[in-house]
Symmetry: C2
Subunit: 467 residues, 2 copies
Amino acid sequence: MQNISPEAASEIAAALGPGGVLARDDWGPFLEEWRGRWRGAPSLIAAPASTGEAARLVRLCAARGVAMTPIGGNTGLAGGQMATNGEVLISMHRMNRVRLVDAAGMTMIAEAGVTLAAARDAAEAAGRLFPLSIGSEGSCQIGGVVSTNAGGVNVLRYGNCRDLVLGLEVVLPSGEVWNGLKRLRKDNTGYDLKQLFIGGEGTLGLVAAAALKLFPRPRDKAAAFVSVASPAAAVRLLARAQAASGGGVTSFELMSDAIVSLTLAKIAGTRRPVAQSPWHVLIEFSSGEEDALRPLVERLLADAAEAGEIIDAAIAQNEAQSANFWRIRHSMAEAMRGEGRQAKHDVSVPVADAPAFLDAADAAVARIAPGARVMAFGHLGDGNIHYDILKPEGAKDDALAPVLSAIETAVHDEIARFDGSISAEHGVGLARRDEIARRKAPIEIDMMRRIKAALDPQGIMNPGKML
Amino acid sequence: MQNISPEAASEIAAALGPGGVLARDDWGPFLEEWRGRWRGAPSLIAAPASTGEAARLVRLCAARGVAMTPIGGNTGLAGGQMATNGEVLISMHRMNRVRLVDAAGMTMIAEAGVTLAAARDAAEAAGRLFPLSIGSEGSCQIGGVVSTNAGGVNVLRYGNCRDLVLGLEVVLPSGEVWNGLKRLRKDNTGYDLKQLFIGGEGTLGLVAAAALKLFPRPRDKAAAFVSVASPAAAVRLLARAQAASGGGVTSFELMSDAIVSLTLAKIAGTRRPVAQSPWHVLIEFSSGEEDALRPLVERLLADAAEAGEIIDAAIAQNEAQSANFWRIRHSMAEAMRGEGRQAKHDVSVPVADAPAFLDAADAAVARIAPGARVMAFGHLGDGNIHYDILKPEGAKDDALAPVLSAIETAVHDEIARFDGSISAEHGVGLARRDEIARRKAPIEIDMMRRIKAALDPQGIMNPGKML
């Protein structure tokens, strides 16, 4: 555990001005990872109110070789935001200005501490869409969303966070500020430096602000809840839906019957929209044209039924029905709470390989933990499956404890076989650091280390995370 | 000028096998930049037939500290592909296999030497679209397209080359091979290393193969040639078209009357599709639905006319008319040939700032070179303007020679004022190296140098280019 001297602490307080350093009484929300997996132990919590203050803070830390950890809304799932080792924790919540919304140019500039919901609201107020949407959007902040390259339910249509960032303002580990806040769609004047900070988990610098892409707001939306016999049928339906709508598929969420049935049983007020079947898909379409989608979706589903790709389907007749479809999907994490120790995986494979991966992983899990219940669901359109294993029905809460590690290894072995990713959207942080060190090719870890050493030679930006 | 020893040359020849080292008689096409701006002087030209051969070649060069320059179709516009200083020139043309087309998963893997046209054909044969489209697509190769982050006419809808790359196989400057050929839509397991090689102009490694995104082929297309009073009116029309089509605008090309009229005068068989006006726009839409676009485009243009945004418009009634529209746009570079020494710029600004930039740049050019003819055209949808200055009508071919540098400085000064890019799609290479060193913030050049030193410590991969 690192500690900073009282002199350094008071110098930081002076550099930041009132409110710049948090009193111990206010530390609570910053110490606990929200699921209780890690506990932070910072030596100081600073909250700069501007990029200038953030730069002064980092410069002071750099001069003393003091390590820093940036934190946004503390909603990360990999522990990257935790100051577990006496780092100076830098909370970005006071840097919460939307600096610009350019409706005509379809861009906005938001500071790191703007919540994702506030960024979406600012775009909407200007008649535009900022499409990134994840469960934690009320609390998570732009800086964290950028630093973890957040995904979510609209990736199929609009891409990951990486695809939505045009430019960044970054406080480098030296305390120097890189103004890379360009709002250009094209710029080929050297290495695309911002890409290193996107998904960089705060290990190369402190993201202070981001220039983001906006889109026209869709004028029509349509959602359908569909029964299919297998993941393979779902992949065929995806291809059909993409072709028929010309890329108008916004979300394509696969859900096994096990997780749908568990959710319906656990979450009050939900009801099954279609006939029970081994697998379900929630599809959402969007279009720039009013009233364009209804006939398209009806024709698509009729064609799919005729081709034997689907068993049953319900098209949402109104907002309330669509909300019910999404409530089922969004309640799955909640439905699994109280099911004891679980093996959770956030994996991806090439979309067409998802069915074969699921078969292979299911077989491996059945071998290791007979009777364990596989809950598979997620963004099939991106090849991203949340593959969670629950204890056998009626077993004790810690029934899986002895085999958790064997299950994880087996599932990730299958991912390796399909050249997939063991962290599709949640990142590395503390949770997957050792695992990626084992699984990535040494040459790749070596390149990552070289880049880290090149941009953070003192190793003071979020040390111990990712690498 | 560097030279390699006869021993090294024969070792390379042995490592590559028959055809791996080009005889002097076959060097011709590799020595001359296609517009004659630079001339190469390699010490040897190698053409590996596989990634394994390429790795052996690079390892041999690395062991001796011999510099290398990769070359694809030799269509680059910035000189990055020229071995101007005795480098070993590595031509990728023998690595021309399409390794995989996964129609269901919407991906393909192509080796560096596959021409862009061949890659597009392979996708089309599988019922899919690889959307990257640039003038040189018959000759340019995937490796070069990736290394220069090529843009083109479909960026508005599908993004730059960067947005189309899922993974890369790269021979690193040490000769080690990084297999980053993932075909995943989501992977958050560390720094996104491929981004450094995309647009890296061969300065960090040799791109050997790329995993690329495919898309459904559009089932309907529509093109319109429109007269507008000003670039500002064109920007409003763009916003209207994007909103009405829900992102269905594939191309949005702005053209001044000066360049349209010059093209019509110079290129046989072209004719003006609409009433003459100060500015024109060529818009192309695409859709996944058959027969969806015609009514949409008609309504859009009627609404735009009513709002006073457009003066006249012609919708292509068939493929031939659409081809005539595009022929005008694609013949502009040819039309300017034979107009003597020119000041050419490939710049971008935030889309909404394009009108103000054009006003300011026109005023600056008029001050420096009264009577010079401004030819402004390009991908307004991306904020990317090709801004070319021709000598005054009737003046001598070298009339602009004394002021070329002053014009470039003035145009790029205006770009700096709008926080734009002085090389939107063509890259840096030799052409803009000194200019970016002057114009970029020192901190940015410093970061680029650190990354270069981290991944190519000997400085042997395409030295003297970009940095």
